[in-house]
């Protein structure tokens, strides 16, 4: 483990957290830490998982790189392409649709000038559609980083966009901190 810690991808506090997480599993089962570590890696790598950062995670957990790739490609929260600073995820499943998620999505598209899956030219915003976020009682719902924004209206969307623009919102940060 010693030499691996010298690779400079993670800060030493992050390595400490990684080791704490690995210790939650029995001897030899450090692969169990893969999902939590990938969340951290993505946050520390501008919100997406490059091959380089996945190889580094493989090294940290003593896995073959392919074991990391096959997992990263399975889960929808992992971005395999670069994303904007602020990733906006709009729920579109039945319960949100009943409460007007189509209008919310259309409003984001209009305001940002992009379609789902795209990033604004200035690299500030990425728009994504997602499936049910388990907040259906407060539909329509979006997720930005670890924050939920619920009971949305087009006015609230305008306010949020203004706020994010003003503060240069970055949605990816280590979710454990």
């Amino acid at each position: 483990m010693q030499e691996k810690q010298n690779i400079s991808a993670f800060k030493s506090e992050t390595i400490e957290l990684v080791n704490k997480i690995i210790n939650r599993y029995p001897e030899g089962r450090q692969k169990s830490a893969l999902l939590p570590i990938l969340h951290i890696a993505q946050a520390e790598n501008n919100g997406w998982l490059s091959t380089g950062i996945m190889d580094y995670v493989a090294l940290l957990l003593n896995l073959q790189p392919i074991e990391v790739y096959e997992v990263a490609t399975f889960y929808s929260m992992f971005n395999l392409e670069p994303v904007g600073n602020c990733v906006i995820e709009v729920c579109q499943t039945g319960p949100c649709w009943l409460k007007g998620s189509d209008e919310i999505l259309a409003h984001f598209e209009k305001r940002l000038g992009i379609k789902p899956g795209e990033t604004t030219e200035d690299g500030k915003f990425t728009l994504k559609t997602v499936e049910c976020l388990a907040a259906c009682g407060n539909a329509p719902v979006i997720q930005v980083g670890t924050d939920y924004h619920e009971n949305l209206t087009t006015e609230k969307v305008d306010e949020l966009i203004e706020k994010w623009k003003a503060e240069n919102k970055v949605s990816h940060s280590n979710p454990y901190l």
Binding site: G94, C132, G137, A139
Partner: protein
């Protein structure tokens, strides 16, 4: 007012703090457990209570525990299923976010009964902010001697950890969850062997839903008989119903099982009626996977009896005229709702969430989504309706895990009950509701 077991204290300020929970009688069930119960007696008590799994399948909890393989000398595991990804379901988040110690106390009770030394809460990755609330509560439980070595001076020790998923509905299926917890893709395993014999890391494992586990402290504090006295013959206790859609008061409600659906929808204690005084059109009563029912059949069974919120009453009439309690995700639609578009969103969901292992599910969910999209955009033909029914029939029952069924039932039931609307959509080549 209905009796509250799960949500009794939910509005108390700072309930997530250990001391607040403790002062309300929290963790007394753990103390009582050490005093009055051996692990096997605790399992018996849960059996007697009649508690059934609240994750969707409704399997008797005590019975499931008794299947745990206790003959091997391998470690055993207890895992809490906090994947909560079934559309319309948002009840577990309510507990995790507002009363995490109730869940932790339940985890201690279950782990003790099962002889478990290490337990995990697997929570969907989107709910990271809830994971942090639970992790903080776990830390407090350690500090106060309710977790860790020799809990409260007993010989029993338990470690409890929280694990995030990363966006995959299929990881709610218990064997996919275990794969995911092992750091792999969430591909469901072929059963048997069941997790009770070969579970996490190949060891005997029990997976239970958040709400199931959070019900345990009350059962131990008040006794199995008291729990079994609530509800109906086959549906004991209380159930969280997360109600959403076109109702005046969406939210999470605790009901005594057996409450009439009509009262649940229209009374001010619960949903408060349909928005804008509109007419009720349809309800998906137990999360998106269960068959949709039109207003007539959700309020009354085909025999004309009032429909109740219980396992047996919702199942009355089978799939022809009934449905299921499922996860308790209660999605209400008024008469402005297009059934084609509604169904399309669920078809897209199941297609997106299929893990891809079985061809009927992987291909069938995609075909159903495509055909529905065709109908929705006015390009469908009459043959498409029977084609959808045909595909649904061939996906159902032909897959490794029940996601295939879960994708097929909404399609089959929507066409069964709203066929004219699909026909009209195709004839008009557009939607009567949105155009």
């Amino acid at each position: 007012m209905a009796r509250k077991i799960l949500l009794h204290d939910i509005d108390v300020a700072n309930l997530t703090d250990f001391n607040v929970y403790r002062n309300l009688g929290g963790y007394t069930a753990v103390e009582k457990m050490f005093k009055n119960f051996t692990p096997d007696q605790l399992t018996e008590e849960v059996k007697k209570s009649g508690l059934r799994g609240r994750g969707g399948a409704g399997f008797p909890t005590g019975l499931k525990w008794s299947f745990l393989d206790k003959k091997t000398d391998k470690p055993r595991y207890f895992v809490c299923n906090f994947d909560e990804s079934e559309p319309g379901t948002f009840k577990d988040r309510h507990i995790g976010q507002l009363n995490p110690h109730q869940l932790i106390e339940g985890m201690i009770l279950g782990s003790y009964a099962l002889g478990v030394r290490t337990a995990y809460v697997y929570i969907r990755g989107e709910l990271f902010y809830v994971l942090k609330i639970i992790e903080k509560a776990i830390e407090e439980a350690y500090q106060n001697g309710f977790l860790g070595e020799n809990i409260k001076g007993s010989a029993y020790s338990l470690d409890l950890y929280c694990q995030p998923g990363a966006g995959a509905y299929i990881c709610g299926e218990e064997t996919a969850l275990l794969e995911s917890l092992e750091g792999k893709r969430g591909n469901p395993r072929i059963k048997p062997p069941f997790p009770a014999v070969v579970g996490l890391y190949g060891c005997p494992t029990v997976v239970n839903n958040v709400e199931t586990i959070a019900s345990l402290p009350w059962i131990i504090n008040n006794g199995a008989e008291a729990y079994a006295a609530i509800g109906t013959e086959k549906s004991k206790g209380t159930k969280l119903i997360s109600a959403c859609g076109h109702i005046n008061k969406p939210g999470v409600y605790e009901i005594e099982l057996g409450l009439p659906v009509e009262e649940f929808i229209y009374s001010d204690e619960y949903c408060g009626g349909i928005r804008n005084g509109n007419k009720l059109k349809a309800v998906i009563a137990g999360g998106s996977s269960v068959p949709i029912l039109p207003a007539e059949l959700i309020l009354k069974t085909a025999k004309g009896e009032p429909r109740l919120l219980s396992y047996e009453s919702l199942e009355e009439g089978g799939f022809e005229t009934g449905t299921m309690l499922g996860s308790g995700g209660f999605i209400v639609m008024d008469d402005t709702t297009c059934m084609v578009k509604s169904l399309l969103t669920y078809a897209r969901f199941y297609h997106h969430e299929s893990c891809g292992q079985c061809s009927p599910c992987r291909e069938g969910t995609g075909w159903m989504e495509n055909i529905l999209r065709r109908i929705d955009t006015g390009k469908g033909s009459m043959k498409d309706i029977d084609l959808l029914v045909h595909i649904a029939k061939h996906v159902e029952g032909n897959t490794i895990c029940p996601l295939g069924d879960a994708a097929a039932w909404p399609v089959a039931s929507a066409i069964r009950h709203f066929r004219e609307e699909f026909e009209e959509h195709i004839k008009l080549q557009q939607c009567r509701f949105t155009k």
